[in-house]
Structure formats: C-alpha cells, structure tokens
Symmetry: C2
Subunit: 143 residues, 2 copies
DNA sequence: ATATTATTGCAACTTAGTTGCATTTGGGCA
DNA sequence: TGCCCAAATGCAACTAAGTTGCAATAATAT
C-alpha cells in the first residue's frame, strides 16, 4: 500500500472513534486503491497472504459501514459490493455502471441525478441507480 | 387463483412456446396476483401445500425470465425479487420503492424516468432504480 | 397410441454471509 | 512503563439462497 493511501486510511479511521487495527487499515487501504465498489472476495484476493480471517473482514466492513465511511453500493451476483463513502451524499450514491462483458464497475461520480419524484405520501430516503451495458473497451470489441 | 388470472397466465405462457405445465401456471398466477416483485420464498408460501419442488420453482422462474415475460427486478436481503415484465420496457423497469419499515415493495409504474446520461463511450443497455424510505402508512406512524 | 424431448423431483452440493465463543490487543490510566 | 478491559480477532460450525446431476415423469407432435 502506498504511504499516502495508508495515511488517508488512518486519518479516515481515526475520525470514527473505531480502534486503529491492522485489518481495518488493510481493508480501508484496499478500498482506497480500488476507487470503485468491490466485494469481500476481491478484498481478500487483494490482501492475499496478508488477509485477515474471513469473518474479520466481514466485521471490519460492517463497522466501517456503521461508521458511515463505507457504503454498501449494490448487490450483484449475490455478493455485496462495498466502496468508500467519500463521493456519496446522504440520500444517494452516484450511479454505478457495470459492464456486462468484462464485469468491471465504473462510478459515474459526476453524473447528476435528480431525485425521482414519488407519488404522494412516500418519503424517499435513499435512491440507488444501477446501470448495465458495455464499457468503452468492450463496446469497441463488440462493434 | 381467480379464473381471469388463470386465463391471463395461460395466454402469456402460450405466447412463449414453453410447455403449459402446472408449476408454470401456478407461478405465473402468483406473480399476476402479487402485482409487485416477490421472492422465491414468497411464491412458495403463497402456493403452500400445492407448491412444486423448490428446484422446480427456480427453474420455472429461470425459463420465464429467459422467455422475457418475467424480470429479475432487484436483489434485496440476498434474495432475487421477480415480477411480471408487462409494465417494463426493454431498457428499464419502472422504479421500485421498498419501505424500510414494513418491507413492502411498491412499483412506481407511472413515474417517468429519463435514461441517465453516461460519459462518452459507455453503452447503457439497462437501468435499474431502487428507492427506499417510508411508505404512506409507515410515514404516518413515524412522523 | 406412441415416441420424443422438455420438464419435474430428489439429494447432494456451493457459496456468501452469520453466530457463538475463546483468545488477543489497542489505548486509556494508574 | 505496565496493567486493565472493552473492543476486536480467529476459528469452527452454521444458515440460507440458489445450483447441479441424474433418474422419473409428462406435454405435445405425429
């Protein structure tokens, strides 16, 4: 992990009141480096032999979500995808685009998205937009 | 099942070329009656003692999705939610609103929703919008 | 009526995620 | 600096949604 990222991770973690532990810094580091939503499995793979116990990673993620510095972005293929919350507002993450060909997810952090107008009486607290299609690379190959 | 619904289910099923079987008509009937996305578990519960084998229901749903008369609306609580495709366009289902208090899902079928504008080079084939918050009933109780 | 092929049922399996409990450790404090 | 203890971790066993292989059954074309 680059030292800049390690520092960012520590700063972020310290802001939460959670203890500064190896597994938390490691997971935060991976999320920083990813810059997009990733799964428990991908986090484990990235940490390789240095990966903490499976359950610990789940609990670390849980605590970071609780502390609101990590979000559950979306479910896909039965697996939760986690990302840093630093580019999200309270009521809405940016839209996520997943390429159905290469399975890569992109954050459309700059795409503004008006809160959907809801019928009378409904209070919308959170809005999630998932896009699917072909990314520039895969569009090209397919034609 | 009401006979009108049974007829609708048969008509829909026959339009697909799939064989007209008991489990398929039963599952379609439940989806018709529900009028909103429901899970495998809810389908099984609704059919009660008349429910086909668990695997059969999964395969029925799979074949109906394949035939494009049923959609996988969204994943929630690790369970796929299925609904009839009759109120969806190719590129987009209507938005779905799930009340976080009573866990009921509502279809906002009349809410028009412009396709999200994507960065250059991305081809968006499908858009899914999930809303969460409080339904009129639960808003009232809470607030 | 029969043959063909799709469909169903059953048992065993896979996989993401959870739970209980014993052990370890971060960080405040004497 | 070392001690304390709640918070955090690790391990094993578990849960639950969904899948797979294969044998038995049933819908439809002839």
């Amino acid at each position: 992990m680059k030292s800049g990222i390690r520092q960012e991770a520590q700063r972020l973690l310290d802001s939460t009141g959670l203890r500064r532990t190896g597994p938390r810094l490691a997971v935060l580091g991976v999320l920083f480096e990813a810059g997009r939503p990733i799964t428990h499995e991908q986090i484990t793979a990235k940490l390789a032999e240095a990966a903490p116990n499976k359950v610990t990673i789940y609990r670390v993620l849980e605590s970071l979500v609780e502390a609101d510095i990590v979000h559950k972005a979306f479910l896909r293929d039965r697996a939760q995808h986690f990302e840093l919350a630093n580019r999200c507002t309270a009521s809405q993450c940016h839209p996520h685009f997943t390429c159905t060909s290469c399975e890569t997810t992109y954050c459309f952090a700059d795409v503004a998205l008006p809160m959907t107008k809801s019928p009378m009486g409904f209070t919308v607290l959170h809005q999630r937009v998932q896009l699917e299609g072909l990314c520039p690379n895969c569009s090209e190959k397919t034609g």
